[in-house]
Symmetry: C2
């Protein structure tokens, strides 16, 4: 394909861009005909349908993803349910913590997302140069401008209290009506429902695919014949009940997520294939650089970045490299990708570190892939609640001598005293970790008794039992250990397919010779919705039309996705339509194609989208060339060199 | 592949079969580790996760479906949201009518699905030969036996009142405790939630993908450049809040549906490609045969079935044929498929006719594909509510003269009287159909006034206005019509992917020489989760292991899904594992593979799953043979004929 001409910052016109995507039915607002009806009171914001080209583009991106990650690395793909019992998300922390902060406008009854409110109001003030809504408001002095900019740079780092204070201090109000707003309150982002007729079983729609994968860890490890490290993967719809979604496909309430959970020994975070990516140079915007107020990423090879601990370990580095290669396969512009590390307060509650792959668009840098280190958090909490160990047992080639605290319950005495609860107490004691045991040993010797918490064994709140030293002994013993048990750490690359799709479309969008009416989407053949448009030069000619359909059938037989455009529009308008749909190749059948013997037709033209160059050859050769281009075994340049450029204009003029 | 040996009816052991599928992680109960925890109170019934082989099998079935239907027939694939505003399902009739009947056991507080209750109790009575739970209960006489059998044959045909009467008449009680149950009440099967923070926007999870497609009809027709007929298609998760799901993967609350909506001119239901399927013979169990109490389908060619109107039209017949070809591609047993027509009361509220493709399993005949004629129902109701026409305009080559009723509002007089409502009245009048207009013309002339219903224009109930003849005139006019407008009829083939997957697995399951431990899943290569297992004969041999991995990498490079099994189990046990996973081919590297020059290795063995036959040839030839088998360009028989059978046992014995 020819090199891509991209828009220059200020040239980008959202309205034109989105109108092309909607006209060509890449996507549409869901329930649009209801939204248009004057009686409809529902909320369809943040919900979009993909039309035929958008749907095919999405399928192709998923297909590339599956080959690049799942098949290439033998990941164990799962398909888990979206509907999830409340208890699972209580354990994972999502019920408590998976929230955004929102402020109510008490007069209008409207809810505003708190960080967006601060961001929008401060940006508007900076743009106006004044503190208030009217022109008479006090002008901003330099100190205030600096303060606003500093707040905006760190906007993702504030919690609810911080935001409340900022709103108060800077008198931030609802920009629509200048109403004061109430202090921020958390709004949980999960959609809730109930399962079955009794309504006693609350469920949520999952906000990520990860939990389903974690709950299956034991089975996955078995399936992998106990071997570590390995990864599971899932592609599926996920749901976040955004407070007030805007910005089109970038902030939606229902979206496709492709996630990998890579399970690794916390003491051994090397990756055997790191050498395949170590020389790749990535633009990294680390935490320190951001907190110093800078916005320019620094370029490192992955080798350097891991060695200097900018990236924590090889496995994390390996995946950042693989993510970059994946994005390039899709047709993302290499100069419009950066990797940004999350700030401390910005991270999800389960993450200890996180890097985002961000793509540059007219909305700025957009987070499209997250690569988080979730440590042992999820496996640990699910294991604690269910009592089912989610661990790896590793046989040590040299058994090691270990000193450890051991607690022993005197069952003879405990049995009669605690009756049916004795098993729960025994389990609680077995679940205690070494640090707790050491503390309890001291307490037991000092006070003669300790209390043991049975919280994880009951849904009805915490129960505590007091155990005197007659019932419980804690002592240090020495054991020879031939098996090491550990909870794996999880490195999670997580791909927002819809965001990638939108950002990709912006990056491959351009127009010929500054003519906004001549739009092209330079999608690479691997992901383009249709690979070839086949057209009769004159659709009214029945013979040309039939030949075009026969040719299309032959291409389809080779597994190539093809459409026939036999509409009455001129060939130029049909090429323009194919350009807007991102179709990389076009085959045209004309009257000369019919004049020869054999099957009744021979030479046809093949046009390449980006260059608009054409070649002409016998149909069999063109079909072979298309197959080679589709398989990636030949480039367009090679086809041209072999067949020679053909000036199609002559043909068109002649037939007119 | 060798012909399949299948189980014979009574030999089939559910427990063995499901334990194989669970052990090999085709699927598992969702949230199983929570279910195992004594504290978990949630309901995870009817929710299943697919493990790696189940997930890959599902992906492959979807892939075959997309190629067979969407790409082969240029259908317009959409991806619409699952979350849908309540108003849409009020219009479509699902809020009122998409329910099952359930009976409450008032003592136990348990809900029972009414038809299943009747079915289970009557079947149990027939099996016991008595009317009650104990042995002393009265014995069933022949008349009662006949009556029960008649009820069971028509069980899908009863509505709530019918079921209530049956329960009363036959004293049907909760079989678990003999409690009497309350009369049946409807339970809506859609999951409900709300969107956004205000809770004022109720939504449902879609129970079918169809509505999203219908709402986009106008855009789809535009995208198809106005040309008819055409089809849209969608593959996606759908949700039904089953009252009490059982029977494993067959009745679940979250499932993958692949649906086609084929839009056709109601006056022209021929299909241009009908000739491609017309000679296919299908086993048809039509409505009449069922109501006569018979259960044996009759065999017809599609040509005969359409000609004799057993199947209503060519388009319906065409799709039944295409469905059959699709099922055969997946590996379904041709003798275990039948097509059953729905009984009148059994059909969904939107359908005027429906045929199910049913697959025979140990649970009996299971509905896996529905092929419904939804007529113009859905497009009409959405158009009525939104006021947006969902119609096709067809230019007539010969304009026709039509007589029609026309209603005219006297705006001069109506304006001052109805003010801002005059537009709503005008719209209501324009929406009236010819039959209503004719009725109103009579009424107007007899009574001097008519009332017009504004129901579709307001969410707040019905408003009626009285229009006297001074304000409204209705008369018959003659027009020359050059454009015909019509609402298309919709033929809907709808595929339950999970049910097809489960039934397929049952049909390809067998065991060698009556040894239940030697299970084989004879999945065809096109859908098998893994195409090739590559194994070193002795995994402890580092060289053999490395060679196996190199060979696997070469196959993977050709796009073939391959796994390496280098576990320490004997080669026989690894073959057995591959058989249970349905892997059709295995390549084994042994010490002889290492002895030769070149790359350092040469001949390897290739084993075919069903016959266990092996061939041996240089690695390059085996790779080429595997590629040809995977592409479907060569059969196993041809490979054997070319290379010759190899007796692998010798090798194994020698190396031991």
């Amino acid at each position: 394909m020819a090199p891509m001409t991209t828009f220059k910052g200020d040239e980008f016109d959202h309205q034109v861009f989105e109108s092309v995507l909607k006209r060509r039915f890449f996507f549409t607002e869901a329930f649009e005909i209801y939204r248009q009806s004057p009686n409809f009171k529902g909320d369809n914001r943040g919900l979009f349908d993909y039309g035929p080209p958008g749907c095919a583009l999405q399928t192709n991106i998923v297909d590339v993803w599956r080959k690049h990650f799942v098949l290439e690395e033998n990941m164990l793909e799962l398909d888990c349910t979206v509907i999830t019992p409340e208890r699972v998300f209580e354990t994972s922390g999502h019920v408590d913590k998976f929230s955004d902060w929102m402020c109510k406008d008490p007069i209008k009854g409207q809810y505003l997302r708190a960080d967006h409110l601060v961001e929008n109001v401060l940006k508007a003030r900076l743009a106006r140069g004044t503190r208030g809504l009217t022109k008479d408001s006090p002008t901003l002095d330099q100190a205030t401008i600096d303060e606003y900019n500093d707040i905006l740079a760190k906007i993702d780092n504030y919690n609810g209290d911080d935001l409340g204070e900022l709103i108060k201090r800077h008198d931030i109000r609802n920009p629509e009506n200048d109403n004061q707003v109430l202090p921020p309150i958390p709004f949980n982002l999960m959609f809730k429902s109930t399962v079955g007729p009794s309504a006693a079983a609350p469920v949520y729609l999952r906000p990520e695919t990860a939990q389903g994968q974690f709950l299956n860890f034991k089975k996955l490890l078995d399936y992998n014949q106990g071997s570590m490290p390995f990864a599971s993967a899932s592609i599926g719809k996920t749901y976040r009940n955004e407070i007030s979604p805007r910005t089109g496909l970038l902030r939606v309430r229902e979206f496709l997520l492709a996630e990998i959970e890579h399970y690794v020994d916390p003491e051994k975070k090397e990756h055997p294939r790191f050498c395949e990516v170590s020389e790749l140079v990535l633009p990294l915007l680390d935490r320190e650089t951001q907190l110093s107020g800078k916005k320019t990423p620094r370029h490192y090879t992955l080798e350097e970045a891991v060695r200097s601990r900018i990236i924590d370990n090889q496995t994390l580095g390996y995946f950042l490299g693989r993510i970059m290669f994946f994005l390039l396969k899709l047709g993302v512009n290499q100069t419009k990708v950066r990797f940004r590390q999350h700030l401390a307060n910005e991270m999800a509650h389960y993450a200890t570190d996180c890097w985002d792959a961000e793509l540059l668009t007219s909305y700025g840098w957009i987070e499209c892939v997250g690569c988080a280190d979730r440590s042992a958090y999820d496996l640990t909490v699910h294991s604690q609640y269910t009592g089912i160990p989610l661990i790896v047992k590793k046989t040590l080639s040299n058994p090691i001598r270990v000193e450890e605290w051991q607690a022993t319950l005197n069952k003879k005495l405990a049995g009669p005293r605690f009756r049916e609860n004795v098993q729960a107490i025994q389990s609680a004691i077995e679940a205690l970790d070494q640090i707790t045991l050491e503390r309890m040993a001291t307490e037991l010797s000092q006070k003669g008794a300790v209390s043991v918490n049975l919280s994880s064994l009951s849904d009805a709140g915490t129960t505590t039992v007091e155990l005197p030293k007659e019932l419980l002994s804690i002592s240090k013993i020495t054991r020879l250990r031939s098996i090491r048990e550990y909870t794996p750490n999880v490195i999670e690359p997580s791909f927002g397919i819809g965001r990638i799709l939108y950002c990709l479309l912006e990056q491959v969008y351009w127009h010929r010779s500054n003519d906004v009416a001549r739009v092209v989407l330079s999608l690479p053949l691997a992901v383009s919705p249709t690979k070839v448009m086949v057209a009769p030069l004159y659709s009214s000619d029945r013979q040309q039309q039939d030949q075009a359909r026969r040719l299309a059938a032959r291409l389809r037989g080779l597994g190539i996705v093809v459409t026939v455009d036999a509409s009455s529009a001129s060939i130029g308008r049909r090429y323009a339509r194919a350009d807007e749909l991102g179709t990389p190749l076009a085959v045209t059948v004309d009257s000369d194609s019919l004049r020869e013997d054999g099957d009744g037709w021979s030479s046809v033209t093949l046009r390449e989208r980006d260059s608009t160059a054409q070649v002409r050859a016998p149909a069999d050769d063109i079909i072979a060339a298309v197959a080679a281009l589709a398989a990636g075994s030949e480039t367009w340049e090679k086809v041209v060199a072999r067949v020679g450029i053909y000036d199609g204009r002559e043909e068109e003029v002649k037939e007119k």
